[in-house]
Subunit: 232 residues, 2 copies
């Protein structure tokens, strides 16, 4: 499975969260990072090139800061230019059918503010409906958005957990399945050469692996209880 991350940010140099996420993306995981503002500083989009990029990938991710509850201007421009009739929708417009479509949202405000009565007052599910509608119109499967709230306030450990969840969002086949997460983690551990990993991060990664295997064990135990119950 190949993933295309379409990244849009009007001033990415100032974004600690984007820098943090970007440095973790490499081609080993079959992830292509595509930064629109860097690719098209004059805003003139090469439509054919973009459509070819889409064709070459199975999972399409829009990654952007969620300013005013929507995408940056250049990403909207990209949508208007690239998602053309007969390509993305309409007669013979089935080129994106069956692909997956996800969002990575960088959000400056706390998660609780998006509940009813909160400062923002509308949920991420409500506010991202336009993107869900894009998925529907183009025949793509819509993934649950991956929202990162208040990155700057996270501890180092939280940031490492975030990174693992982000990598899984980009490259896990069934991003929600426990089995897939376990397999992914085992693969990461196997591929890990100890000279590549910073010494201070090693204990954390081991802990994360153990915790995931324990979660799995708990679920298996619970399943066994159910089975025993019905066997009685």
């Amino acid at each position: 499975m190949k993933t295309l991350v379409i990244l849009s940010h009007p001033s990415i140099g100032e974004s600690g969260s984007q820098q943090f996420l970007i440095q973790s993306v490499n081609d080993h995981n079959h992830v292509t990072l595509h930064h629109l503002e860097r690719e098209y500083p004059d805003g003139i989009i090469d439509v054919k090139k973009e459509q070819n990029l889409l064709l070459q990938h199975d999972r399409i991710i829009f990654q952007f800061p969620f300013y005013w509850y929507s995408s940056p201007p250049l990403l909207k421009h990209w949508q208007d230019e690239v998602l053309t009739e007969h390509f993305a929708y309409g007669y013979r417009g089935d080129k994106l059918h069956g692909k997956e479509f996800g969002l990575v949202l960088i959000i400056g405000v706390g998660e609780k503010e998006y509940e009813s009565g909160g400062q923002e007052g509308f949920s991420i599910s409500e506010l991202t409906k336009p993107f869900q509608a894009v998925a529907k119109k183009t025949g793509m499967t819509y993934l649950k958005p991956f929202s990162i709230f208040q990155f700057a306030y996270k501890t180092e450990e939280e940031k490492m957990e975030l990174l693992i969840a982000y990598q899984q969002y980009l490259s896990l086949k069934e991003a929600d399945s426990l089995k897939a997460k376990e397999e992914w983690m085992l693969k990461q551990l196997e591929e890990l050469s100890y000279d590549k990993i910073p010494v201070d991060e090693a204990p954390f990664i081991i802990d994360e692996a153990i915790s995931m295997l324990e979660d799995n064990r708990l679920e298996l135990d619970e399943l066994r209880l159910h089975i025993d119950h019905y066997a009685d």
Copy 2:
């Protein structure tokens, strides 16, 4: 009451609906038409000027084609640049408090497609939640969006009705009240000089006025019935 129509369209010359609406707007009704692409062809926005414009008006309208369920790139850029902290939100960011905020959406697809099960599958109410959230965040009163579906298929009579409803959306104090609509229509009739109105449109305008007065009469009759009922 003064209204600011912030119009955004990437290629307005090709839009029959926009041309039709624009030619009906004049300063007599205290409406300022502000076309972003014409004002800022290079995309560099004069933030102070825009904020001053906002301060001078009581009702703010975003008028745009609803491509991919959102605003054109330049209007999003305008939001990101102009709706700054300490002006539109945050500490002392109360400059827009109490103003009204509405949307005029030009939509190429039929209204029924926005129902559940329709081709688009999400309602205009759902898809415009990001704008409702902008209103909430900036302390503005959110008006029901004014959606124009499939303008090109409308008859001349439907277009004239649309124009009246559009003018009322821009300049009526309580856009939904029958009394306000009646007063607005009477004012329009009084201001009408017969040499200004095209001969073929005159019967229509008279009809519209009669129909509105009849609606009003019906409502009054119904009210009287209720009162009689309680008096018994």
